[in-house]
Symmetry: C2
Subunit: 229 residues, 2 copies
DNA sequence: CGGCGTTATTGATCAGGGTCAATGAAAGCG
DNA sequence: CGCTTTCATTGACCCTGATCAATAACGCCG
């Protein structure tokens, strides 16, 4: 059994809507699972028999064409929810891109539990609405922005999402990306070469520093915002 | 007051979850409104004080860059729901692209009503999850597909969504698009010229007929599927 | 520390799709 | 019915970002 009361995402995940006794019930249903970096949890097109909360680590949602081109369609951080409630197959695959720890439920069991707990369902609805907003803003980037606008937008989004206090204006000026260059390319709908060139150019122009492969320091937030279009 | 029981989308909209007495309550809150083609209901970035069900007509959700490039991020058909419950500003604008009839609610009133009616909220959750899946499949198209793949994918999606019996395998072979070429371009992340060229090419190759500006007849579904990648 | 595998950068070239411009076809209207 | 306006098609040219290829930097491990 899982101890939900001491869970690290207790107050941020959808479970935050539950009372201690309800949480106990949910705890009986869930089981913790570590997944290692690179491991794929759910495959695109397959029936997705599980849903989960992310306790730790980062995962990616990937859609792919028949000939292997990949687009990352979502990034999942701790306290986020993954899987597809209400019985549809997953339209994308879900893979860990770092060591991760999940709290996994059988989808059918979870669906039933959710049916009896409107507050949980509302939390899930709010979260899904937020995800939909984010996905739609990303569609503008994918469909209409240039490579340089994409790169700048990406850094701003990451500064926002990786900042310690969510929602606050103090987006992190320096942070470590959980992605390599190829994954950034798959997020932006670019090739790895173009992505690399854009990063190099931003560094050359003094907008950012790149102290190591995955570290980024933002020097000129205003210019970056300008550049993002 | 609105007569929900005789509503044309009674069994398809989220209201289908409600009992007659609940429906009566909701009817008191809603008001019908006609909107003419081209009229914008909600503006990107503004607070969105209303939500609505679509009874008739087609609307588009549009995200735009500061310099005026536009990306259509969603298409709304009869029985679909529009607006942003739970108090966030709309991240896109909503415009009618044909004469339309809506059933409009004040967002706050609707939120409160939804809070008291879990079944309604679940219907909304299911719908939102479906929209999110659709948006993410579209991200693959925008980020990774070529112009010809985009055009073919578009026609297949439209054949599916415009078919009279939803879900059935009998996607309409001939149908009338509710969009002009510029709007198709804004859906696909292309220019109007490229869109036009792709349509002309598909006709030249015998995959489709174009009997009038907005009419499409699919001749070779298999080839179109192949082409969509 | 040195060697190797992986990942990122840089360069040269090319092509898909954008841009600019002109023409053509439909729809709206007096 | 013809005129105007809007929308779509077609053509010529160019540019951004993809592709192909080589090199460089990092990280891992013995």
């Amino acid at each position: 059994m899982t101890d939900c009361l001491s869970c690290i995402v207790r107050n941020r995940a959808i479970c935050a809507s539950l009372r201690p006794d309800e949480l106990l019930l949910l705890g009986w249903m869930g089981r913790r699972q570590r997944v290692s970096s690179g491991h794929t949890l759910l495959w695109e097109g397959d029936d997705a028999p599980v849903v989960a909360n992310v306790l730790e680590g980062v995962l990616k949602l990937v859609a792919a064409t028949a000939d292997g081109r990949e687009q990352i369609v979502g990034i999942v951080f701790p306290s986020d929810f993954i899987g597809r409630p209400f019985g549809k197959e997953s339209p994308y695959s879900v893979s860990a891109i770092s060591e991760a720890e999940l709290c996994i439920f059988h989808r059918d069991q979870f669906d039933e539990f959710a049916g009896d707990h409107p507050d949980l369902q509302q939390k899930l609805l709010r979260r899904t609405l937020g995800e939909l907003d984010r996905a739609r803003r990303w569609m503008l980037l994918l469909g209409r922005k240039s490579a340089s606008e994409k790169a700048a937008s990406f850094l701003l989004e990451m500064a926002e999402r990786l900042s310690p206090s969510p929602g606050a204006a103090d987006a992190a000026r320096g942070f470590e990306l959980p992605f390599g260059r190829q994954q950034i390319a798959d997020i932006l709908g670019l090739t790895i070469e173009t992505t690399s060139r854009q990063f190099t150019k931003m560094r050359a122009d003094g907008l950012i520093d790149l102290p190591s492969r995955r570290k980024v320091v933002i020097n000129d937030l205003a210019a970056l915002n300008e550049m993002a279009g």
